[in-house]
C-alpha cells in the first residue's frame, strides 16, 4: 500500500515538473511563432496628460484633432491601459523602451525620476536602453533612482564604464548590462541596448563628466550579436542613437559625435568619415547596414514616428570604409570587386536580412506595437553557403512583421493602478510648484520653430527676455533652439506650460566676445542650420543676420560658391532706440517701407502721406521718408549697426551653450563668463509680466462696467441663468461687427480661462449646488483675472533671415 502511494506521488510529482518544463521551453521548431513588441520611447517625463494642437503628421497617425484644434493627449495612465491590454491578450509579448524617460515635465524636476521608474517597474518593462537625458540630474541621481525604484534591466553596450567599485568612479557600471535574454514561451529573444554617443560627448563638453567613454558602436554591436547568436533565437536592438548620422549635419550638435575643427566643411572633414573616426558616426540605419545578424531594430531619440517602419538591409557596408567591407566579405554576405590597388569599387550581395526599423515618437502621443513572426526557413537547393552557415548556428529568422500605432487620445481609459501611483505624487507636486497658476494668455499659438524666417516667434520672445532682463542688459543674446522644448499653445499659459517649454534648469550666463568671435559664433549657427532644413539652430535678440542656406543647393555642383555662412550681421543700431522713427508699423511691428535690393518691405506699405525712400546717399536707407543713420544697415526689423570685428560685445546665453554644449565651442573657453544664477524660465515669466499689457487693457469704460456688473450681479443665479449671462457678456464684448470686436482677446481669455478654472470644481458632486457655486466663483475669477493677466504675443520678424546672397 505504502509503495503504491509512493509510486502515485512520484508520478504526480513528475507530471508537475514536466508541466513546468513544458511551459518554459516548449519545442517550437517547425512552427511559426509570433512575438509582439511593445515599443515606447522618449516619454520625457510627460506622465500627466497635456494639451496639444495636433499637427498633420499626428493626425494622419490617428491622433485626431477635435474641433477646437487642441486635444488632451498622452499620460502614463493611458499608456498603462494600452500596454496591459496588449499583454493581457496573451502570447509572447515584450515591452522595450528606447530611453529618455527622464526630463521634460515638472514631475521630473521635483521627484528626479522616481515616478518614472516606479511606473516602468509596474509595467514590467522587459528592457530599457539608457538615453542621454537620464543623466540630466547627474549619474548619481540616475543610479540612486534605479537602485531604489527600478526593477527592470537597464541596457547599454557602447559606453566603456569605470569600475564602479573603485573609489570615486562612476557607479553606472553597477546597474547597466549589455544585453538581456527574454525567454518568451520557448523563444529566446536577446535584446541589446545601444546608447546615444553625441549627447554624451556634448554633455561632457558642457562641463558634466559622466565617467563614460563612448566606444565604437559598430564593433561592439557586432561582437555581441556574434556572442548571443548561438545562445538565443532572435536578436533585437533597442537604440537611442537616432536614425541617421549625417556626415556634416550633426557637427556640433547634441546628437552625434563631433568633429573637432569648427572650420571643417564638407569633404575636408576627415574625421566625419564614417570609417575613419575611432568613434564612428553611426545612426540606426548605419548600425544595421554595417553589421550582420540583427533581426529587429527599435530606435528613439529623434522623437519621430516611422510609419510604416523602415526596412534596412544588413550586410551593406559603407563603401568608403575598407575595413567594414572586409568584415562583411569575411562574413560571406557580399563579394567585393576590387581595383588594381585592392580597393573595393563595388560589391555583389550574396545575402542580407531585411531588418525592420521602428521609431514610435515621443511624449506619449503613441504606443508602438510591432507584431513579428519568426520561423526556421527550410533550406532549399538554392541556399548559399552563408544561408547554410546561418542555419547551422541558429535557424530562426524574421518571416513577417506588421506595425500598429496606438494613438493616446482621450478615448483611451485611464489605468487605475498607474493613477494610484501618480496620486501619491500629484498633491505634493502641486504643493511644491504652483503649476496650475495661470500667468498669461496667448491669443494665438507661439511656435518654437520658424515658419517663415529663420527666427521663431517663441525664440524671439525667449531671447529678448534674456537680453533685456534687468542686470543682464547685454548687446545681444543667443539661445539654442532645441533648448526650447515645446510650443506655447493658444490659450491660458500656466506655470506648468513654462516647465514644459523650459524643462531644463538652465540659468543665464553673460560673456564678452570680440567681433570676430561673434562672427564665428553666428557662422556656426548658420552652418548647422543650413543642414537642418534651414531651421535656425539658435534664437537671438539684439542681433540680425542672414543665413545662406541655398548655396550648396542652388549651385548644382560641388565646390562652387561659398558655403553656409552668416551674412549682414548687425548688432545694436537705431531700431533699438525708437523704432517708430524708422518706419515700424505700430500694429504689426513690422517695417513699412523698403529700399532697393534688400527685402525690407514693399513701398506700398508706406502711409499715403509718406514717400518711400528708394535710396540714400550711403545706400542704407530705411523707412518712412528717412535714412538709416550713417553706417547702419537696413535690416528686416530696423536699422542695424554692422558688426565690427575689432569691437567687443556682451552676450547673454544659457549656461548650457556657454559651457560649450551643442558644439558652441567658441563660447566654451571664454574666460569672461559669469553665471548670473537667474533661471531662464524665471526670466521669461518675468518678461511676460513686464512687457505685455493685460488682456483687458483695451476695455473701454462701458465694457469695463459690463464686466464689473457681471461679477457683482450674477452670484445668485441658477445654472442656466448664469450660463446665459456669461454668454451675453462675451457676446457684448466681442460685438456683432468688426468695430466692437476689439475686445475679442479679452472675451476669449475670459472664456478659455473660465473653462479651465471650472475644472477645479470637478471634485464636487455633479450638478450639485456646491459645484454650481464653485463654477460661478471660478468664472468670476477668470473674468477678473483676464483684465490684468498679460496677453502675450510674439512673432517672427526676420532678425534671422534666409536670403540668398546673390542679391548682395
Amino acid at each position: 500500500m505504502r509503495s503504491k502511494f509512493l509510486l502515485l506521488s512520484i508520478i504526480t510529482m513528475f507530471s508537475f515538473l514536466s508541466c513546468l518544463k513544458e511551459t518554459d521551453s516548449p519545442d517550437l521548431r517547425g512552427h511559426d511563432v509570433e512575438v509582439t513588441f511593445i515599443h515606447t520611447a522618449d516619454w520625457h517625463s510627460r506622465l500627466l496628460p497635456y494639451y496639444l494642437e495636433v499637427g498633420e503628421t499626428d493626425k494622419a497617425l490617428g491622433l485626431n484633432d477635435n474641433s477646437s484644434g487642441v486635444e488632451v493627449v498622452g499620460g502614463a495612465a493611458r499608456a498603462g491601459t494600452i500596454i496591459k491590454r496588449i499583454r493581457s491578450a496573451g502570447g509572447r509579448v515584450i515591452h522595450l523602451d528606447t530611453g529618455d524617460v527622464f526630463q521634460g515635465a515638472p514631475i521630473f524636476n521635483e521627484f528626479l525620476g522616481e515616478v518614472e521608474f516606479r511606473i516602468y517597474s509596474h509595467l514590467k518593462v522587459d528592457a530599457f536602453a539608457v538615453g542621454n537625458h537620464e543623466f540630466d540630474m547627474g549619474v548619481t541621481n540616475f543610479v540612486n533612482k534605479a537602485n531604489e525604484w527600478a526593477s527592470f534591466p537597464m541596457l547599454n553596450i557602447n559606453y566603456a564604464l569605470e569600475n564602479p567599485y573603485y573609489p570615486g568612479a562612476s557607479p553606472l557600471g553597477a546597474i547597466t548590462y549589455p544585453y538581456q535574454i527574454v525567454n518568451v514561451q520557448g523563444l529566446r529573444v536577446a535584446i541589446i541596448g545601444v546608447g546615444s554617443l553625441g549627447s554624451i560627448v556634448s554633455m561632457y563638453e558642457g562641463g558634466n563628466s559622466l565617467g563614460i567613454t563612448p566606444i565604437d558602436t559598430l564593433d561592439i554591436t557586432q561582437f555581441y550579436i556574434d556572442w548571443l547568436r548561438p545562445i538565443s533565437d532572435v536578436i533585437v536592438i533597442s537604440s537611442h542613437l537616432g536614425l541617421r548620422a549625417e556626415k556634416q549635419m550633426e557637427r556640433g550638435s547634441e546628437d552625434q559625435v563631433q568633429d573637432d575643427d569648427p572650420d571643417c566643411v564638407g569633404d575636408s572633414c576627415a574625421s566625419n568619415d564614417l570609417c575613419v573616426s575611432n568613434q564612428r558616426l553611426v545612426g540606426d540605419e548605419q548600425l544595421i547596414a554595417n553589421t550582420e545578424g540583427i533581426d529587429v531594430f527599435f530606435g528613439g531619440h529623434l522623437h519621430i514616428v516611422l510609419s510604416p517602419p523602415e526596412v534596412v538591409d544588413d550586410c551593406t557596408p559603407d563603401l568608403s570604409c575598407p575595413e567594414l567591407i572586409d568584415e562583411m566579405e569575411k562574413r560571406g554576405c557580399l563579394v567585393a570587386q576590387r581595383d588594381q590597388y585592392g580597393n573595393a569599387t563595388s560589391y555583389t550581395k550574396t545575402g542580407s536580412r531585411k531588418v525592420p526599423l521602428m521609431h514610435s515618437g515621443a511624449f506619449l502621443k503613441f504606443i508602438g506595437q510591432m507584431d513579428t513572426v519568426f520561423g526556421i526557413p527550410e533550406l532549399d537547393s538554392a541556399a548559399t553557403p552563408n544561408d547554410i552557415e546561418r542555419h547551422r548556428i541558429n535557424g530562426w529568422e524574421l518571416k513577417a512583421f506588421r506595425q500598429i500605432m496606438h494613438p493616446m487620445n482621450e478615448s483611451v481609459p485611464l489605468d487605475p493602478d498607474i493613477e494610484w501611483i501618480l496620486d501619491q505624487y500629484r498633491p505634493e507636486l502641486y504643493r511644491r510648484l504652483p503649476l496650475t497658476r495661470y500667468i498669461a494668455y496667448a491669443p494665438v499659438k507661439i511656435r518654437r520653430f520658424a515658419t517663415g524666417f529663420g527666427d521663431s516667434a517663441l525664440g524671439n520672445l525667449v531671447s529678448t527676455a534674456i537680453q533685456v532682463r534687468r542686470r543682464i542688459e547685454t548687446d545681444f543674446s543667443l539661445t539654442n533652439t532645441l533648448g526650447i522644448r515645446s510650443d506655447i499653445e493658444a490659450g491660458p499659459v500656466s506655470i506648468e506650460t513654462m516647465y514644459n517649454v523650459f524643462p531644463f534648469e538652465n540659468t543665464i550666463t553673460t560673456l564678452t566676445l570680440s567681433g570676430s568671435e561673434v562672427k564665428a559664433l553666428l557662422d556656426y549657427v548658420a552652418l548647422r542650420s543650413s543642414r537642418r532644413g534651414c531651421q535656425a539652430q539658435a534664437q537671438v535678440a539684439g542681433v540680425t543676420m542672414v543665413m545662406n542656406c541655398n548655396d550648396h543647393v542652388v549651385f548644382p555642383y560641388k565646390d562652387e560658391g561659398s558655403f553656409e555662412t552668416a551674412h549682414r550681421i548687425t548688432i545694436g543700431g537705431s531700431r533699438l532706440t525708437d523704432p517708430t522713427n524708422f518706419g515700424i508699423d505700430d500694429t504689426s511691428k513690422k517695417p513699412m517701407c523698403s529700399y532697393d535690393g534688400v527685402r525690407c518691405t514693399s513701398g506700398t506699405d508706406c502711409p499715403d502721406d509718406i514717400e518711400p525712400v528708394k535710396s540714400c546717399p550711403d545706400g542704407t536707407s530705411f523707412g518712412n521718408g528717412g535714412c538709416c543713420p550713417a553706417g547702419e544697415l537696413c535690416t528686416p526689423n530696423g536699422c542695424g549697426r554692422p558688426i565690427n570685428l575689432l569691437a567687443s560685445y556682451t552676450l547673454a546665453a544659457n549656461d548650457y551653450i556657454a559651457a560649450g554644449g551643442s558644439g558652441f565651442r567658441v563660447l566654451q573657453f571664454n574666460t569672461t563668463q559669469y553665471n548670473t544664477g537667474i533661471p531662464l524660465r524665471d526670466a521669461v515669466i518675468d518678461f511676460m509680466y513686464i512687457n505685455y499689457a493685460g488682456c483687458g487693457v483695451d476695455l473701454d469704460d462701458q465694457a469695463f462696467e459690463e464686466v464689473s456688473t457681471f461679477v457683482s450681479s450674477t452670484s445668485n443665479l441658477s445654472a442656466t441663468e448664469f450660463t446665459n449671462a456669461f454668454s451675453a457678456l462675451l457676446d457684448s464684448l466681442r460685438g456683432s461687427d468688426d468695430v466692437t470686436r476689439m475686445f475679442t482677446k479679452y472675451a476669449n481669455c475670459a472664456e478659455d480661462m473660465a473653462d479651465l478654472m471650472k475644472k477645479d470644481c470637478s471634485y464636487l458632486p455633479d450638478n450639485s449646488d456646491a459645484q454650481l457655486r464653485c463654477k460661478i466663483q471660478k468664472t468670476h475669477g477668470a473674468v477678473e483675472m483676464c483684465i490684468d493677466i498679460p496677453c502675450i504675443e510674439a512673432r517672427e520678424d526676420g532678425r534671422i533671415d534666409r536670403i540668398f546672397p546673390i542679391s548682395e
Binding site: E34, G533, S594, T601
Partner: protein
C-alpha cells in the same frame, strides 16, 4: 503519512489539471501551416517564387490570384482537427486585398482582412490581391473573434483598437490562441514613380473632385528601383535613370526619364516625377545625380504626393569609369528639359496632376500687382471670425495679381498671371527678384522654370519653385532655354 500522501496527490492533481488547462489551446493549435496550394497539395505560383523571377507590380483589381491552403497545427506539427474557429488572413507588408471578396472585413484600425472559418483545422481557397511589391507573405492569425460586420458600430470601436476588440458583442474582449502562420515569400516587382503618382480614378481628377488625386499606395513604404536600360529602347543605356532635378533645403525632386505610358508604351512625362521630403537638407546629393534606388513612406500632404522618411542610393561615378568626372553628378546630362505649360494646362486638373513634381516652365507672365495687408486689428494673423479680415483675404485671392501680405510673409508664395490664370512662385532665397519691390509689381517676366508643387490650401494651388537664378528671366535677351 496518509495526510502527506493525500496532500501530494491533491497537489499533483491540481497541477495536472492546471497544466492541461494552460495548454489546452496550444494543444489545439500552436501555429498554422500556410502554403500556396489546395486540398491536393502544393501548387507553384505562376511567378514570384524566387527573387529573380518576380511577378509584375499591378494595381488592377483582381490582378493576382493564388490558391492558398491553411492548416492548423498542434504541438506535434499535426493537423489540429478540432480547430474550427475563424482566422484572419492578410497580406504583408504590401498588397491590397479584394474588398469585394465575400470574406473581406475591415478592422477598426482600417486594415482590410479576410475572415475565414477553418473546417476540421483546414481551409482551402483562392486569395486575390493587387498592388503587391517586394517580398510578400500571407499572414494568418487566430484572434479569437470574427470581425464585426458593421465595424463602426461594434462595441469597442470607439474605445481603441485592442486585441480581440473586433466583435460586435465584444464588451469584454478575450484573445484567441495567438497562433499565427506565414507563407513563404512571393516576390513582386517594386512600383515605379508612375505607379505611385497615378490616381485610381483619372476621370474624377479631371472633374476636379477633391481628394481624388491621392496615391493608391498612400501609407505604404515603397522602394523604387532603377532598371537597367540597354540603349535600344529609346532610353540612354545604363542603370540609373531616376534623375534628381532639384535639391531643396528639405528634400529633393526626382524624375524617371525613362518613364513610359503603360498603354501606348511611349516615353512619357506623365506621372514621372516625385518629391522626396527629407526634413533636413539631403546630404551630398546634387541636381543631376542618378539614383539606383530610393525608399520612403508614401504620404499625401494637402493633396501633394510625396515620400517621407526616405533613404536613397546614388549611382556614383568612379575615377576608373570612362568619361567619369568625380566632381560632377553622373547624370547631369540627363536632367530632362522643362515641360512647357500654358494657361490651358493649368485649367485642366488632370494635366496638372500628371505633371506634379515635374520640371516645368512658363513664359510671358506678369508678376504680382499688389501685396495686400488684411490683418486689420494688428494681431499679425488673418482672423477668420472677423468678417472684414476674412473677406479681405478671399477677395484678394479671387483677384488675379493680388497676394495677401500676411500669407506671403509666412509662405513666400507670390503669383504670376499667365493669361488670367494665376500660378504660384516661391523664389525667396533662390533668385534675386524681389516681388514686393514697387518697381517689380506687375513686372513682365519672360520665363520661369522650376519644379511643380501642389498644395490644396494654397492660393493658387499650383506652385513653381525655381532652382537657381538661371531659371528666371525678365526678358528673352540672354535667357537660356
Amino acid at each position: 503519512m496518509k495526510n502527506i500522501l493525500f496532500l501530494t496527490i491533491l497537489l499533483g492533481s491540481f497541477s495536472f489539471v492546471s497544466c492541461v488547462d494552460k495548454h489546452s489551446n496550444e494543444k489545439d493549435v500552436v501555429s498554422f501551416k500556410v502554403i500556396f496550394g489546395d486540398a491536393n497539395g502544393p501548387v507553384t505560383p505562376v511567378c514570384g517564387n524566387t527573387e529573380d523571377d518576380p511577378c509584375d507590380f499591378n494595381l488592377t483589381e483582381g490582378s493576382f490570384s493564388v490558391p492558398l491552403s491553411v492548416r492548423a497545427l498542434n504541438e506535434n506539427l499535426q493537423t489540429a482537427s478540432t480547430f474550427g474557429r475563424t482566422v484572419l488572413i492578410s497580406v504583408v507588408p504590401s498588397g491590397i486585398l479584394d474588398k469585394d471578396d465575400p470574406h473581406a472585413k475591415v478592422l477598426p484600425d482600417g486594415r482590410l482582412v479576410l475572415a475565414v472559418a477553418l473546417n476540421q483545422g483546414e481551409w482551402n481557397g483562392n486569395i486575390n490581391f493587387r498592388g503587391a511589391f517586394g517580398a510578400v507573405s500571407i499572414f494568418v492569425e487566430d484572434v479569437g473573434y470574427e470581425p464585426a460586420a458593421d465595424v463602426v458600430n461594434s462595441a469597442c470601436y470607439n474605445i481603441y483598437p485592442g486585441p480581440g476588440c473586433y466583435a460586435q458583442d465584444d464588451d469584454n474582449p478575450l484573445s484567441g490562441t495567438g497562433a499565427v502562420g506565414v507563407s513563404n515569400y512571393l516576390y513582386f516587382m517594386n512600383p515605379t514613380i508612375y505607379d505611385i503618382q497615378k490616381p485610381a480614378d483619372e476621370d474624377a481628377v479631371a472633374e476636379g473632385i477633391r481628394d481624388s488625386d491621392g496615391s493608391e499606395l498612400n501609407k505604404f513604404r515603397i522602394q523604387v528601383d532603377a532598371p537597367e536600360y540597354t540603349g535600344d529602347d529609346g532610353c540612354p543605356a545604363g542603370t540609373a535613370r531616376l534623375v534628381v532635378t532639384q535639391v531643396s533645403v528639405t528634400g529633393f525632386y526626382v524624375t524617371d526619364v525613362c518613364n513610359r505610358d503603360p498603354e501606348s508604351g511611349d516615353l512619357s512625362p506623365n506621372y514621372a516625377s516625385l518629391y522626396v521630403y527629407n526634413f533636413n537638407t539631403p546630404e551630398e546629393l546634387y541636381r543631376g545625380d542618378c539614383l539606383l534606388s530610393f525608399q520612403g513612406a508614401v504620404d499625401e500632404f494637402q493633396g501633394y504626393t510625396e515620400l517621407k522618411n526616405p533613404f536613397w542610393t546614388v549611382d556614383t561615378c568612379h575615377e576608373e569609369d570612362p568619361g567619369c568626372d568625380v566632381d560632377e553628378p553622373k547624370c547631369a546630362d540627363l536632367v530632362p528639359a522643362p515641360i512647357e505649360l500654358d494657361d490651358l494646362d493649368f485649367g485642366d486638373p488632370l494635366t496638372m496632376e500628371r505633371m506634379e513634381s515635374a520640371l516645368v516652365t512658363i513664359h510671358n507672365v506678369t508678376a504680382t500687382t499688389e501685396f495686400l495687408r488684411c490683418d486689420q486689428n494688428g494681431d499679425g494673423v488673418i482672423d477668420y471670425d472677423l468678417a472684414s479680415e476674412k473677406q479681405c483675404k478671399y477677395d484678394c485671392e479671387d483677384e488675379v495679381g493680388c497676394v495677401v501680405k500676411e500669407d506671403y510673409d509666412v509662405y513666400f508664395t507670390w503669383t504670376v498671371n499667365l493669361n488670367n490664370v494665376e500660378v504660384g512662385v516661391v523664389s525667396k532665397g533662390i533668385i534675386g527678384f524681389d516681388p514686393e519691390d514697387e518697381a517689380n509689381l506687375g513686372q513682365s517676366i519672360y520665363k520661369i522654370t522650376g519644379t511643380l508643387k501642389h498644395l490644396d490650401f494654397g492660393s493658387p494651388a499650383w506652385i513653381i519653385i525655381p532652382r537657381d537664378p538661371e531659371d528666371f528671366c525678365l526678358t528673352q535677351t540672354g535667357c537660356e532655354e
